[in-house]
Amino acid sequence: MPQQGFSIRIDGVEQDFGDFPALRDVSLDIQPGELVALLGPSGSGKTTLLRVIAGLNAPDRGSVYFDGEDATNLAVQDRRVGFVFQNYALFKHMTVADNIAYGLRVRPRRQRPSSADITARVEELLRFVQLEGLGKRFPAQLSGGQRQRVALARALAIEPRVLLLDEPFGALDARVRKDLRRWLREVHKETGLTTVFVTHDQDEAMELADRVVVLNQGRVEQIGTPAELYDKPASSFVISFVGEAVALPVTVTDGHVNFAGRELHIDTHGLRSGPARVFFRPADIAVATGGDAELEGRVESLRRTPAGVRATIAIDGFDQTLEIESPVETAATLGDKVPLSLTKARIFPAEANGFDHIADGI
């Protein structure tokens, strides 16, 4: 059942909850038919942004456009958004079929389909979400994954302009999540709806979304495809939040990067002198083979893995250990000093917004 995708434009949206700024100058463009993830830690404003798009929250400043049309002051009831709540919010006193039919039955008499049409549409949707024959059940008689699909069918019944999902897999166990992920991708492909979902799980965002919006403390840190986020993180927050990263505290003096008395060969891209952090992925550090060692570390433990050896290494001058996987041949023995080199790293000024918050978690 392909439906038409609408574009969404969010322009300078801000929202405060009392003294707490939940959204700060958020702007983004979502193309028709795109699948977009809002990714961020809790309290980053991702759910608030989703609710602003739905019209459940009225932003203090800024505008929301659907297909170029200003929808900022459009009531929730008139927005025609399909919203799937984190806890599904199914009507427990109604059967599955009545839940799905609800959005059609509450329409004003003139726009309401005939009851035969409603029944047919409910059957069609039940088939679509693979719940055929369960229309007479009550939500309490369904599993979590099945409830999720009822909530989706109910949202799709009103032929929404956009589909919004709040933590769609949050309440499910890991195995069901995996299945539903694939399934949601299919649903998106088949409906062609512009879809926005909220998640705090970066794997989920990266695997599913065409583009990911990374939010932190109410601000957009970066908008990009998963590849862009991995390869060109725009801030220290993005590199730490999306994928594993190690942060080395360094000082920059006139374009030279200094870590614990050693110079690291990193292009500073004109970063001004002062404290900074060098970020690298665990895969981007290796035992140096030539004389190009930038760092030195002591092997603290060794563990055999199918592919090679996993060594825990304490870097000199750094209070954290890191794990390096290397082929069996290059493996050192316990207590050895090993030379290390960085193949890829990024540098960000230490005072960058949101950095300290994340550094605690590494």
Binding site: A54, L56, Q77, A89, F91, V106, R107
Partner: protein, 288 residues
């Protein structure tokens, strides 16, 4: 493991599923004993005493105009009072559960006052307020409305004592209703009224009926708060419980128990009916 036929027979005789906690026999016995001693035995005494009257005696009491007037007053006003409590109790419960505002807990505690107050105290205060010289009574009297010493006075007292029953039975169910239900209904295009009537009220219905039944039952038996404000004019504002007391004071025990038995029968029928509606509504809307 002795899976003997004797054990199988014993298991088959059991009419409760085995449970982790022992003591079904003891607690069930206690339940029967307690209900029998505290509830059923006194009621049986009442019927037994009333049976002295015989069929003709009952007919005489039932057709006595003053008795029918009192019974009618009690049951109709109790019904109206319970209906009023149903509406306003729901609103009070909703506001106290759904919104947070300064002094919410204090206001919440006020709801229980009619429970705790000696009914005579409530009656005297209400009478003082609504009397023609009282704070409410005086301005109302100027408008030509008389509350105290009329049936309206009885209604005011019954509404007062019944309110907490509705509030307290509905409150926990309201707090279980997620805000997301309203929001989901709105995103699906439902108007506010549709949301209230289709999404919010059906799950509350069983609790509302319970609250209604409790308020109604309490109002039927209410005596203390009513007699001070009712004026107790025979055929007009005389309630059945008062008539029983009057009969007792005249040493007309048979007459008193006769009225009591009739009240018991009507109350039982009314509560049974409410329970049946409730059972139906639980089946219909109870998947909460």
């Amino acid at each position: 493991m002795t899976s003997s036929p004797a054990r199988a027979a014993r298991n088959a005789r059991r009419f409760v599923a085995p449970s982790v906690l022992p003591g079904f026999g003891l607690t069930f016995g206690y339940t029967l004993f307690y209900l029998g001693l505290i509830v059923l035995f006194p009621l049986a005494m009442l019927i037994w005493r009333a049976s002295d009257l015989g069929a003709s005696g009952f007919m005489r009491i039932m057709t006595e105009p003053r008795v029918t007037a009192a019974l009618q007053t009690t049951f109709t006003l109790s019904f109206y009072a319970a209906v009023i409590d149903l509406v306003f109790g729901l609103i009070v419960a909703w506001v106290l559960t759904r919104y947070s505002f300064p002094f919410r807990r204090v206001i919440d505690a006020f709801v229980d006052l009619p429970f705790a107050l000696p009914t005579a105290v409530a009656g005297i205060s209400l009478a003082a307020l609504y009397a023609p010289i009282g704070w409410f009574g005086a301005p109302l009297a100027e408008m030509g409305i008389k509350i105290a010493y009329t049936r309206w006075g009885i209604l005011v007292a019954l509404v007062f004592i019944g309110l907490p029953f509705v509030v307290r039975t509905v409150q926990p169910i309201i707090s279980e209703l997620e805000i997301e239900l309203e929001e989901a209904s709105a995103t699906l295009g439902a108007s506010r009224f549709q949301t209230i009537f289709n999404v919010l009220l059906p799950p509350l219905l069983p609790a509302l009926l319970t609250g209604f039944a409790l308020a109604f039952a309490r109002a039927i038996g209410e005596y203390g708060s009513v007699i001070f404000i009712a004026g107790n004019i025979a055929y007009v504002s005389e309630i059945a419980p008062l008539l029983i007391v009057i009969k007792l004071e005249q040493y007309d025990f048979a007459g008193a128990t006769g009225i009591a038995a009739i009240m018991l029968a009507i109350s039982f029928a009314a509560l049974l009916a409410i329970n049946l509606i409730q059972a139906w509504s639980r089946r219909r809307f109870g998947h909460v």
